[in-house]
């Protein structure tokens, strides 16, 4: 986001409007950030597995996208990977703290609704990291 003003263009009263920096006029990401956040929030609080995963994917994806678009990060896939790791870590923390167990006959055991939410965040984080991986490999190739 280049915020510098073109000083010499601002001499006349309209100057500051006519010349000056480039404000963006359209961006794909804001809507997805908002919707992603909303869906993820509903998913976590009400405990809807699908919503949690979709919501976090959408949210982290759009945040990575907007950061890249605004020039804050060079490679969006790396940002996405970092965000996915954060979600994954949060999920593991919740899952572990509320008695979720891996292994045994059931493979994954969720003793209560909170651990279940942790599990859904783990899935969201893992899927996000996977996406980031695939994406960066693809962008390496092209």
């Amino acid at each position: 986001m280049s915020k510098e003003r073109v000083e010499d263009g601002a001499a006349s009263s309209e100057g500051n409007r006519a010349v000056t920096d480039h404000k963006p006029s359209a961006s794909l990401w804001p809507m997805f950030i908002a919707f992603g956040l909303a869906i993820a929030e509903v998913g976590v609080v009400v405990g809807v597995f699908v919503f949690t995963v979709i919501g976090f994917l959408m949210f982290t994806g759009a945040v990575a996208g907007i950061l890249a678009e605004a020039g804050y990060v060079e490679r969006p896939w790396v940002a996405l990977g970092v965000l996915g790791t954060v979600v994954l870590a949060l999920g593991i923390a919740v899952f572990g703290a509320f008695g979720g167990v891996v292994g045994g006959t059931e493979l994954v055991a969720v003793p209560n609704a909170v651990a279940y939410r942790g599990l859904s965040m783990i899935s969201a984080g893992a899927l996000t990291i996977l996406t980031a991986g695939v994406g960066s490999i693809r962008s390496e190739l092209t």
Partner: protein, 632 residues
């Protein structure tokens, strides 16, 4: 829990989302879009300092231009206004008779309480705050000579949080037909625990037990019985709070850093001052609401005890809520005061009287509004010494409000008054605000409040301010700036009809409520046929009928307004550069300079010339009310 099935479903939808994203990012560069040709009535295409926009619906979904976002906020707020208005019409029809009849077949009292909750929350959070954001988004950058907001993308995020917020807040109504355990929330807009923590979909209590014939609150909640509609509403409310906070940060940054080189603090207009103060209030109060909501959600879903009796208790919630809640009412009223201070002088032919004092009183209200919250809790049994302090500050806050009122009246004094539609709404604002304010001062006195608390008097008080003043200022702003936003002029006669129906309807409805309150009619009741005192039931019924008639007049007025707006936007007469003849009085305003510039640029670009000169509402001196200057 059927985990594998859910995992499969999740993977499938996840893949779908990815595909959508991959497709979307294919449009690498949104900037390569060709501009809309020629502009058209809607918003027009100016492209100053902006890249070109994509066309069609995509433009509206991806825009980060403050003017477009302002229009989006406006449309959103009007949809919410309609929802909240229709909800309250049902309530008013129910109240026209003492017994439960109109709503009896659709859910009775529980449904009434759902409507009540939805009406309050919708009007305050989905109509009030967003409609003010519509004005500030569109006009603040123009007024301070900025190219756009400081953070255009964050601006867009803040807006797009609102539609999901509204869907969640209303979700209970949509889901109720399909799920037994879900209904629209019945907590009322204040969401006091224990109700808000433990209400079932039928409106029963999920955390009480009977003891010696009385219902006692316990700490055990039957979580399975809770109404998920309330959870969804709390989530939606949380999102709108996040949205308001993001917007506030953006406005503070914009007004501090993006002012044009010729706009110093001394030149900052009054509307921008009120938006700056409002943003500060939002910044310090909405996080409180957010935290209180999160605590409610945790109490409900995760068995915490923030507001349980053996935890913080319900009074803790009231403190948190009203520490947000009182500033919220000033968040809603300050920008409308700014609109009045901005528009009223333009039709009085004079500069705003005592500009500095209007600014100072705005700042004073901003500070004081954080010191009065407990006046909403006078009847809750808090320490009487606390009450005295809060009573003093509450009485004091009336002073800066009165300063403004006197300044407006003095501005009009001996002025060259033009009774255009925006001016009528300004004058209506002052009249109604005086009644709303004076009733507020009475409520601020502890002994009076103990009698009037939780009666219709309170309802009358705040509706005089919210409907009688805030909505009036919104309409004043809408009419005043309609020529800029649409490039066209509205129909004058319909505008006048809208004003008079709204003025009469407001006063019929809400003055009747003040009288109802004197009679002791409690608020938040669907029926009053249980009243046995001799004579009083007739008194209540008559006044409720009057209030319902008033509400119906209001409904008709707002339909007239909508028709006027849509029709004029599409085919109203095109306006010239100075539709209000502001130059004549030497009261130029920056946004109309911008408007004139834009018309010039469009002409230079080969747009259609506006041959028929401004057909304005009162664009000429107003000795003859019905002179030829009228619109169609």
């Amino acid at each position: 829990m059927g985990l594998s099935g859910e995992l499969a479903l999740t993977l499938l939808t996840g893949v779908l989302v990815l595909i959508v994203f991959a497709l979307a990012t294919r449009f690498d560069d949104w900037r390569t879009y060709t501009p809309l040709a020629g502009g058209g009535a809607l918003g027009g295409e100016t492209g100053y300092g902006h890249d070109e926009k994509p066309g069609g619906i995509v433009r509206w979904l991806t825009t980060v231009d403050h003017k477009d976002i302002g229009i989006l906020y406006g449309v959103y707020a009007i949809v919410a206004f309609a929802w909240g208005g229709l909800a309250v019409m049902l309530m008013r029809f129910e109240l026209a008779t003492p017994a439960m009849d109109v709503l009896a077949s659709v859910g009775g009292r529980a449904f009434y309480n759902q409507l009540l909750t939805s009406h309050g929350i919708t009007m305050l959070f989905l109509f009030g705050t967003p409609i003010l954001a519509a004005f500030s988004n569109y006009f603040i950058p123009l007024l301070i000579g900025a190219d756009d907001m400081a953070f255009p993308r964050i601006n867009a995020i803040a807006f797009w949080l609102l539609p999901p917020g509204a869907i969640l807040i209303w979700a209970g109504f949509f889901l109720a037909p399909f799920f037994d355990g879900i209904a629209a929330s019945m907590t009322s807009w204040t969401m006091y625990p224990p109700q808000a923590v433990a209400q079932t979909a039928a409106g029963q209590d999920a955390m009480s037990y009977e003891y010696a014939g009385r219902v006692i609150a316990s700490s055990e909640i039957d979580t399975a019985a809770l109404n998920a509609g309330t959870d969804l509403m709390l989530l939606g409310l949380h999102l709108t709070g996040v949205s308001a906070t993001m917007g506030a940060i953006n406005f503070i940054a914009t007004i501090f850093t993006e002012r044009g080189s010729d706009v110093g603090w001394d030149k900052l207009d009054i509307f921008s001052w009120t938006i700056l103060t409002q943003s500060a209030l939002i910044l310090f109060s909405f996080p409180l609401l957010g935290s209180a909501i999160v605590m409610l959600l945790l109490d409900r879903n995760f068995a915490t005890g923030f507001f349980a009796v053996e935890g913080g208790g319900t009074i803790l919630y009231q403190h948190l809520f009203w520490f947000f809640g009182h500033p919220e009412v000033y968040i809603l009223v300050l920008p409308p005061m700014g609109i009045i201070s901005y528009v009223l002088p333009r039709f009085s032919g004079r500069k705003l009287f005592g500009f500095k004092f209007v600014v100072y009183s705005t700042l004073a209200i901003g500070v004081l509004s954080f010191g009065v919250w407990a006046h909403h809790m006078f009847a809750s049994g808090i320490d009487p010494r606390l009450r005295a302090g809060f009573m003093a500050v509450s009485l004091a806050i009336a002073i800066p409000s009165a300063v403004k009122t006197f300044n407006w009246i003095t501005t009009m004094w001996n002025g060259n008054i033009r009774l255009t539609t925006p001016m009528l709404f300004c004058i209506g604002f002052i009249a109604n605000f005086i009644i709303g304010g004076v009733t507020g001062v009475f409520l601020a006195a502890v002994p009076v409040d103990l009698i009037l608390h939780d009666t219709y008097y309170v309802v009358g008080h705040f509706h005089y301010v919210i409907m009688g003043a805030i909505a009036f200022a919104v309409f004043a702003g809408v009419y005043y700036w309609f020529p800029i936003v649409s490039g066209r002029m509205y129909q004058r006669t319909l505008g006048k009809a809208h004003f008079w129906t709204t003025m009469v309807g407001t006063n019929l409805t809400f003055f009747a409520m003040i009288l109802l309150g004197y009679g002791g009619m409690p608020r938040r009741y669907a029926t009053y046929n249980g009243v046995t005192a001799e004579g009083i039931i007739g008194y209540f019924t008559n006044l409720h009928v009057i209030a319902t008639v008033g509400a119906f007049i209001l409904l008709v007025g707002q339909i007239i307004w909508l028709v006027n707006m849509v029709q004029s936007w599409l085919e109203g007469p095109v306006v010239g550069p100075d539709p209000w003849n502001l130059k004549e009085d030497g009261l130029p305003s920056r946004e109309f300079d911008w408007h004139a510039d834009r018309i010039e640029t469009t002409l230079a670009d080969g747009g259609e010339p506006a041959e028929d000169e401004p057909m304005t509402d009162g664009g000429e001196p107003v000795d003859a009310d019905d002179d030829a200057a009228g619109d169609e």
